[in-house]
């Protein structure tokens, strides 16, 4: 048996090596590291959509590789390094948890360029990119505030990090403007991906009186549960209308392709620089799915809000902003909170009953 295994292993290695040498043309090699499977129908799926668009646009000049299901631990470093060793010159690492691993490999290989999604550590050859999802959440809050008959919104949180907390706050601020008595119930599931648990949380929220569910986790479970119960919901990362044709109001759809194409073009032209890009509705880093399952007046309100946010006429975190305890938040960005305050948001705004875990 052991002999058979060794033969298999050698055969497998030979195939891999053959594949590598055959592809060693002088095309630029671009690598991607994915957190989940490309078929997660959420976060990773959208990065894969971006990669495919990139291939469509520049396929004659580049060659792309992706590694999926890479854990956010020591595995990540090994995976990134593997891409470097196989000749990739531009590498996108697409999850927050890859931050330190990316930085470590970046310091080791100064002539390779790295792009890390949603992180805050940068270097000469390591750029970061992310999206202002709170803008989308603000539009969702506007819709929810108007569409909720019960006046209770259910929110499924993954982990209490600033990105998620600022999303909850943006939702609340928008919904409050429409309905000052609106309530947001938050349930933290402490996971990015567990369809069963996400479904359980959605059921619990609906059982406790919420009539609209929104989620900051990766599967379409919440949309599906809401559709089963005849409630309303928002999609996350991807358009999830398939899972609730009569349920989804809209969805925040990550749209990485334009960024990927632009960065690869810069790399090809030798003009790549380490940057910190935080794109929003204006640069189409994400887009809103069609507004569905709502009356025309809410549809119009949603489109108007989207236009106002896109054209910078309306900032979701316009001052004054009161915390849960009622103290006014310092307004570092002039008329609205500064980016750094949103990126590090660790407080709830007034009106949210939940307590941020660990605070």
């Amino acid at each position: 048996m052991r002999k058979v295994l060794i033969v298999f292993a050698i055969a497998a290695l030979a195939v891999i090596a053959g594949g590598l040498s055959a592809s060693a043309a002088d095309k630029l090699k671009v690598g991607f590291i994915y957190l989940g499977p490309v078929g997660d129908y959420g976060w990773t799926y959208q990065h894969e959509v971006g990669r495919l668009e990139l291939v469509k646009a520049l396929g004659d000049k580049i060659e792309t590789t992706y590694l999926e299901n890479v854990n956010e631990g020591p595995d990540a470093e090994r995976a990134i390094e593997q891409l470097v060793r196989s000749g990739h010159k531009l590498i996108f690492t697409t999850s927050f948890g890859y931050m330190d691993a990316t930085l470590k490999v970046a310091r080791k290989y100064p002539d390779v360029h790295f792009e890390h999604a949603t992180g805050f550590k940068r270097d000469k050859n390591m750029a970061t990119y992310s999206a202002r999802w709170y803008q989308g959440r603000y539009i969702q809050g506007t819709i929810a505030g108007k569409a909720s008959k019960a006046g209770v919104l259910g929110y499924i949180g993954s982990f209490p990090i600033p990105e998620v907390v600022s999303g909850i706050n943006a939702t609340m601020l928008a919904a409050q403007k429409i309905n000052p008595n609106i309530k947001v119930k938050v349930i933290w599931v402490n996971t990015w991906f567990d369809p069963g648990k996400e479904a359980d949380a959605a059921k619990a929220l609906l059982d406790q009186g919420a009539d609209i569910v929104m989620q900051h986790t990766d599967s379409p479970a919440a949309v599906q549960v809401a559709s089963e119960r005849g409630a309303l919901a928002f999609g996350q990362d991807s358009d999830m209308i398939k899972f609730g044709p009569k349920t989804q109001l809209t969805a925040i759809i990550d749209n990485w392709a334009p960024y990927y194409i632009q960065r690869v073009k810069e790399q090809l032209a030798g003009a790549w620089k380490s940057t910190d890009v935080w794109g929003g509705l204006k640069s189409k880093m994400f887009i809103m799915a069609p507004y569905t399952n709502m009356p025309d007046d809410i549809k119009r309100l949603a489109s108007d809000t989207e236009a106002a946010v896109t054209e910078d006429r309306l900032h979701p975190f316009t001052c004054p902003i009161l915390t849960q305890e009622g103290t006014t938040v310092e307004c570092k960005g002039g008329t609205h909170l500064a980016d750094e305050q949103i990126l590090g948001m660790n407080f709830y705004v007034k009106g949210i009953d939940d307590k941020i875990p660990g605070k």
Binding site: M1, G36, P37, G39, D40, Y41, N69, G154, P160, K185, V186, I187, W188, V189, N190, T191, F193, D194, P195, G196, K197, A199, D200, A201, K203, A204, L205, D207, Q208, S219, P220, A221, Q224, V225, E228, K242, F243, D353, D354, K355, P357, G358
Partner: protein, 306 residues
């Protein structure tokens, strides 16, 4: 529908896949084989079960395909550990990795497709009884099957001669062999049965729990099923208590958060696991002899001398 009823319904749904998979693993382990590949067999059952239900339009056929997939996956394990006496722990872990990868490949074409969830029983009057009606008479077939399965396993292990032989093999395969019992044959059957149950438990997820398939959707439930077998100290009836307790704590912590009880959610999320550890300690203290409930030959390879 009252809140209490809603909570009980959610608990039953959350516990059923655990109970199904754990019941199969219990029989496997009672025969002396430790198959750590439950997660892999479950996810294979989920992917193939969904594919079956989607293509045929029938939940029942989907469940059948899920069972077949779980059984086929466990057959690989049986061939390696029983046929070639390969290390069971390593093979089980490898089986999980294989199952997760292969199921992703099989299910890739079905991601984003929807099916109608398993139908729920409805008996006029009975199902409409307040509070207990839907809990007792309004479940899907999987829930009833899981409870019936555990009772059948209890009866088999403790009331039949065949069950006695299976337990004897698990406790001392050398003696059982000396008495002329076909150790490897019975162990193979036990492993295949475990695979079938894990496949059914996995199929429950895309067929009834959340009616769609996504790679990795078992999300660690196979490991919890393994822990439940230990929690139940290898006794079928305790398995029911363990599975429902685990499900109850999982669901209750979500409700407590929604109600704004102000307990840190990280603590709440770890409660089911803390409860497992606590009960393990209590059980082993009460017995005074920790760990003695495990089948004595558990995990040991058996190579008959011919």
């Amino acid at each position: 529908m009252g809140l209490l009823e809603a909570i009980i319904l959610s608990v039953l749904a959350a516990s059923t896949p655990l109970l199904l998979a754990a019941a199969g693993e219990l029989v496997t382990e009672r025969a002396g084989v430790l198959n750590l590949g439950v997660e892999g067999m479950m996810i294979m059952g989920a992917a193939c079960g969904f594919a079956g239900a989607y293509l045929t339009g029938s939940t029942l056929l989907g469940a059948g395909v899920g069972i077949a997939a779980g059984t086929a996956t466990s057959a690989i394990f049986a061939a390696l550990t029983l046929g070639l006496a390969v290390n069971q722990v390593a093979t089980g872990l490898a089986l999980t990795i294989l199952g997760i990868g292969l199921s992703g490949l099989i299910g890739a074409g079905f991601v984003g497709d929807r099916i109608v969830g398993a139908p729920h029983l409805h008996i006029p009057l009975l199902t409409d009884t307040p509070l207990i009606g839907r809990v007792l008479f309004g479940q899907d077939a999987f829930v009833y099957a899981s409870v019936a399965l555990v009772i059948a396993i209890w009866w088999f292990l403790h009331r039949t001669r065949a069950g006695l032989i299976l337990r004897a093999i698990g406790d001392n395969h050398a003696s059982a062999h000396a008495l002329g019992y076909p150790v490897l044959k019975i162990r193979t059957l036990a492993v295949l049965f475990g695979g079938a149950c894990a496949g059914l438990g996995g199929a429950y997820l895309p067929l009834a729990y959340t009616p769609f398939f996504i790679p990795g959707m078992t999300a660690g439930r196979g490991w919890i099923a393994l822990a439940l077998v230990v929690f139940a100290s290898w006794r079928p009836m305790r398995l029911v208590v363990g599975a429902y307790l685990f499900g109850a704590v999982t669901i209750l912590q979500l409700h407590a958060q929604g109600a704004g009880l102000g307990i840190p959610s990280q603590l709440m999320s770890s409660l089911p696991y803390l409860a497992t550890v606590l009960v393990l300690v209590v059980i082993s203290r009460a017995r005074g002899t920790a760990g003695s409930a495990a089948p004595a030959s558990l995990g040991a390879a058996f190579v008959p001398d011919r």
